[in-house]
């Protein structure tokens, strides 16, 4: 007599045909298994394999989304080769990032970095934002390059995203890249200033007031003529006061 499929097998069979409008109750055994596999590497690997196998088949966009949501929680380096090709596909790029952004394995960062150099321009903002959320220091040269190129090409939104990312990554290289940026577009210039302020705040939080002070002083000096110059001056001046307080307290 043939062995009866488990509830999990049945749910995965349903997932292969799943689409919007279907009753999601059929997927509940998968939901439960994803939660239950915490601390059980074997179960986790089994689930991850099942998901990646399905992703390699022709399944609906709804099913791809469902799988990416689950890999967001339990994915490891093992699923990266399956997710990485989706980064360049406009229909799936975001959900691939949805999973990859949250997977700590270095392979996930590698995939996002590699994609930044290959995906269409309209998807680059997503790669940059995910690398920023990961605070991926290795991506700084590539993001700085995007900042410069997009500024030059008048791609304001992309350049702003690149500046924002450098402000979130906050490594010494990111700070240097922001200092070296020379945008002419007002919105990009404002984003670079914002990113430098954010970087200075990070330095203050890391108890490095001298480095933070250098950024604030440079912003005060350069504020004249910038859009919202008064706002920059005030923000940087507040920063200088905070640096002085921190230095005095140390």
């Amino acid at each position: 007599m043939a062995e009866q499929p488990s509830a999990l097998d049945t749910a995965f069979a349903a997932l292969a045909k799943f689409d919007w409008g279907n009753d999601a109750k059929v997927l509940q055994p998968i939901d439960a298994a994803v939660v239950a596999c915490h601390g059980n590497a074997g179960q986790r690997t089994d689930l991850e394999n099942r998901f990646t196998q399905l992703l390699s088949q022709p399944i609906s966009r709804a099913a791809v989304e469902y799988i990416c949501r689950k890999l967001c929680l339990i994915g490891t380096a093992a699923c990266v080769p399956t997710l990485a090709p989706l980064l360049g596909q406009p229909e799936h790029s975001h959900m691939a990032r949805y999973a990859l952004e949250r997977i700590a394995a270095p392979a996930a960062g590698d995939a996002l970095r590699k994609a930044l150099g290959t995906v269409p321009d309209e998807l680059k903002i997503g790669m940059i934002a995910s690398l920023a959320a990961r605070r991926d220091g290795q991506s700084v040269p590539a993001i700085a390059e995007v900042l410069a190129a997009a500024s030059k090409a008048g791609q304001t939104r992309l350049a702003v995203a690149a500046a924002d990312a450098l402000g979130q990554i906050q490594t010494a290289a990111a700070v240097d890249a922001l200092t070296a940026a020379t945008p002419t577009d007002a919105a990009v210039a404002a984003a670079v200033v914002n990113a430098r302020l954010a970087a200075a705040e990070g330095l203050l939080a890391a108890k490095q007031p001298a480095k933070a002070r250098a950024i604030y002083q440079s912003l005060v000096s350069a504020a004249a003529g910038q859009p919202r110059a008064k706002s920059i001056e005030l923000a940087a001046t507040r920063g200088l006061l905070a640096c002085a307080e921190q230095t005095a307290a140390s």
């Binding site: 929680l73 975001h94 952004e101 949250r102 700590a104 934002a129 220091g137 990070g202 923000a235 507040r238």
Partner: protein
């Protein structure tokens, strides 16, 4: 997620000031004494409305406002601000044409002209130098992006609750507000409006030190697999979705009603934390204010599994650094049976130790204002922090967000406030945030 050695903690230390960060249009006009403006402006006839009267300030002293997200709650907010004499309301933004037009009509009717600008692009409003403040009442998945953008554009913000959708958004929003010296008020009008019956006696010391709190409210949001329907022409669906994953249009996905049973955006994970954060923003807000926990964040999240007999459902409790315990849907039989308590309609119950405790003055809205809208406007003028300052709102919202994560993972968690991470649980940390759909990123 591991950080390299040269990276810094995730929580920025933002130098803050309660004072105004940028010169406004009014400041400029006052400083210039009207001369520069008169020299460059087209001929202009000062109307009696522009000059003001006994109850209405002159136009140059009014707070110029715009609204973003003018559906259910947004229309209520708009009416509240429109009713204030110190406000000059100039623009509305919504991705639904009908709501946009209705909102514009309300403004035009108030001023007797057709000047109100209606747009579906919020950045268009933020780029205007003449706008001082915006109110935001979009679904939750837009809150952080819009609030941060508004702060960067030099606008003060009144933001509907729940202020955040994820735990990571909170510190970023606070940082933006502090960096640019903006007034950012959360928008739970009920915290002070509805819960005074427990707030006042609690602050008066009537139950002694609060030891535990019970909150009864619905659970977290759910996944949405509603069928794909044709998108109607009066909604910009891509903008409605914004940073959320692309999903097909269905009215049940985006309806603005207050239900969480599957027929509104409040039901669904991509746009809301469900009842837990929606009505929860009020209940948690009231309870946390009453117990004076607004400056704190929970340090421990305990998942209590359902009993094997199926009669006692799972529930989650939080422990604050001062040992106050806050429980979500703790079964009645497990609640403290002795000692003094304060009960708000069964939905919020505070339990105390009954020990003598000195009374404290309840902090109220600024300048004697009687509504959260008035409080916000008073702070826009004075540059003080509002009653539901964004930092206090973010602290408050950490509670239901952590509870939601514990329910999803079915396990207990330890929260490290300094790093804004769960300690020793990499999977839980994956739920601190989610990737946003390009180009709507933060």
């Amino acid at each position: 997620m591991s950080l390299s050695a040269d990276q810094h903690p995730v929580v920025p230390q933002v130098p803050s000031s309660p004072r105004r960060a940028s010169a406004s249009r009014r400041d400029f006009l006052q400083a210039a004494g009207g001369t520069a403006a008169a020299a460059t402006a087209a001929p202009y006839v000062l109307t009696s409305k522009a000059l003001g009267d006994a109850v209405t300030p002159p136009a140059s002293d009014r707070i110029v406002m715009a609204g973003i997200g003018i559906g259910n709650m947004g229309s209520g907010d708009q009416r509240a601000f429109l009713g204030r004499n110190e406000v000059q309301y100039v623009a509305v933004c919504d991705v639904r044409q009908k709501w946009r037009e209705e909102a514009k009509a309300r403004v035009d009717a108030k001023y007797g002209n057709t000047d109100c600008v209606a747009t579906l692009d919020f950045q268009e409003l933020l780029d205007r130098d003449d706008i001082d403040a915006v109110h935001i009442a979009t679904p939750d998945h837009w809150h952080a992006i819009m609030t941060i953008a508004a702060c960067r554009a030099g606008k003060d913000v009144y933001l509907q609750k729940p202020e955040t959708l994820t735990l990571r958004e909170g510190p970023l929003m606070v940082a933006a507000a502090r960096r640019y010296g903006r007034v950012v008020s959360g928008g739970s009008q009920r915290v002070l409006g509805d819960y005074r019956g427990i707030v006042d006696p609690c602050w008066a010391g009537e139950i002694g030190n609060v030891t535990s709190i019970d909150i009864r409210v619905g659970g977290p949001s759910q996944a949405c697999y509603l069928p794909a329907l044709e998108t109607p022409p009066d909604i910009d669906w891509d903008r409605w979705l914004g940073p959320a994953p692309w999903e097909p249009y269905n009215p049940g996905r985006c309806a603005g009603n207050y239900g969480t049973g599957g027929n509104s955006w409040r039901s669904y994970y991509d746009y809301s934390g469900g009842s837990l954060t929606d009505w929860g923003a009020h209940h948690f807000g009231g309870a946390i204010f009453a117990a004076d926990l607004r400056e704190l964040q929970p340090s421990k999240v305990t998942y209590h599994p359902a009993a094997a007999d199926g009669k006692t459902p799972a529930y989650v409790s939080l422990t604050y650094p001062n040992r106050v315990e806050l429980c979500h849907n703790r079964p009645d039989g497990l609640r403290p049976q002795a000692g003094p308590s304060l009960d708000h309609r069964g939905s919020v119950v505070l339990h105390g130790d009954g020990k003598p405790k000195a009374a404290k003055t309840v902090p109220l809205y600024r300048d004697g204002e009687r509504s959260i809208y008035g409080d916000f406007l008073a702070c826009v003028k004075s540059r003080q922090r509002p009653f539901r300052d964004i930092e206090l709102a973010v602290n408050t919202m950490t509670a239901p967000h952590m509870i939601g994560i514990a329910y999803r993972l079915e396990r207990s968690l330890i929260w490290d406030r300094a790093s804004q991470q769960f300690r020793g649980d990499a999977e839980a940390n994956r739920l601190l945030d989610r990737a946003r759909r390009e180009p709507w990123v933060i």
